[in-house]
């Protein structure tokens, strides 16, 4: 089932614009390998779920997949053949807003080649340009 918040203060959000670069969540923290976005974008809960399924199906219970993003923001839409106006549409789904540098997924417990192959499948499901990254030792 696609991810969504359990409780929210307000159901509908302004669309907003995504500015700047990721200053947090931009390093591999839980696994050994990660998938990092190179551009800003809005990733839907369905796309996150598709990515997760692509990775877990490829790994076949071999390693562990971590999802580093969460769809906190709702988006709305109007039904077909409805005139403009008459208020904001209803909530249709949930999205995660990501900035360049954000690590989207992580994998641990598998060799690098396996993680690369799994992430190449996940990358197909993402609406943003991504790259493969490995954990960096901090001094």
């Amino acid at each position: 089932m696609a991810m969504m918040p359990k409780r929210v203060k307000y159901r509908k959000f302004h669309k907003g614009r995504i500015h700047g670069k990721a200053t947090r969540g931009n390093t591999v923290a839980y696994g050994e390998f990660g998938l990092q976005t190179l551009e800003a974008g809005r990733i839907t809960a369905q796309q996150i779920e598709a990515g997760r399924m692509a990775a877990t199906h490829y790994l076949r219970r071999e390693g562990r997949v971590f999802i580093r993003i969460f769809p906190h923001t709702s988006y709305t839409g109007k039904p077909l053949e409805v005139r403009m106006g008459k208020g904001k549409g209803e909530v249709v789904g949930w999205i995660a807003k990501v900035k360049p540098g954000t690590v989207l997924f992580e994998i641990g417990g598998v060799p690098e080649e396996t993680a690369k192959a799994a992430f190449s499948r996940v990358a197909q499901k993402m609406p943003v340009m991504v790259r493969f990254v490995t954990r960096q030792h901090t001094v």
Binding site: M4, K9, Y10, K21, N26, T138
Partner: protein, 215 residues
């Protein structure tokens, strides 16, 4: 074990992000030297030369600034938002006989026995903090995990530290463990989209509803 690498450094007179960007464009890496109760000093080192030494495991440097020399240890490095380019480096003044606290990466070796019975090896702790003489800082600590069975863990107290090194981290902390991963339960197709998040109700909404009823 660490050996002292010699690198030329220049003091930075102009501070701030703008001048730091300029010095990066000129092939220099901005940094700072502090410690030993002396004043902090802004410096810059040749980026390419420093990176080459750093990637080959050098953490102990002798900075040559004209006639002045300082023995320093790399304390912290900052990367850009993508984690590719180094943008700043912190050096801490040290004596060659001084004991320092450093974090050293833990590298796991071998395939655990537990993986044959469905377990997955997970490394929880990537770096371990140790205290040792500055010249004896190991590049990495290797740990053999081939004897780990299912639901067994490797603790920090089990790590083989080099002679003279002392563990700073909690000895009972788990470095790696082999455990079975529970399969995620996939929802039935009809269930999707049925649930909506609960809206935290506010006084305003309640008042509005009451008002509507009165009218």
């Amino acid at each position: 074990m660490s050996k002292v690498s010699v690198i030329k450094a220049e003091p930075r007179s102009k501070l701030g992000s703008h001048s730091s960007q300029k010095s990066r464009k000129n092939g220099m890496l901005p940094g700072v030297v502090y410690g030993h109760k002396k004043e902090a000093m802004a410096i810059s080192v040749p980026a390419a030369e420093f990176l080459q030494m750093f990637r080959h495991g050098s953490h102990l440097f002798e900075l040559q600034m004209g006639e002045q020399t300082e023995t320093v240890l790399v304390k912290a490095v900052q990367y850009d938002y993508l984690g590719t380019n180094m943008i700043h480096v912190d050096f801490s003044r040290v004596d060659l006989t001084e004991r320092v606290k450093v974090s050293v990466p833990v590298i796991l070796r071998g395939t655990p026995v537990g993986t044959q019975s469905g377990g997955v090896l997970q490394q929880v702790m990537m770096d371990v903090e140790i205290e040792c003489v500055v010249t004896d800082i190991p590049e990495q600590i290797r740990a053999n995990v081939s004897k780990l069975g299912l639901d067994e863990s490797l603790y920090t107290k089990d790590l083989e530290l080099p002679a003279g090194a002392k563990l700073v981290d909690d000895p009972e902390a788990i470095v790696a463990s082999v455990s079975e991963i529970a399969e995620a339960v996939e929802a039935a197709p009809g269930e999707e989209g049925a649930a909506e998040p609960e809206v935290i109700s506010k006084g305003k909404e309640v008042e509005g509803e009451e008002g509507a009823e009165e009218k």
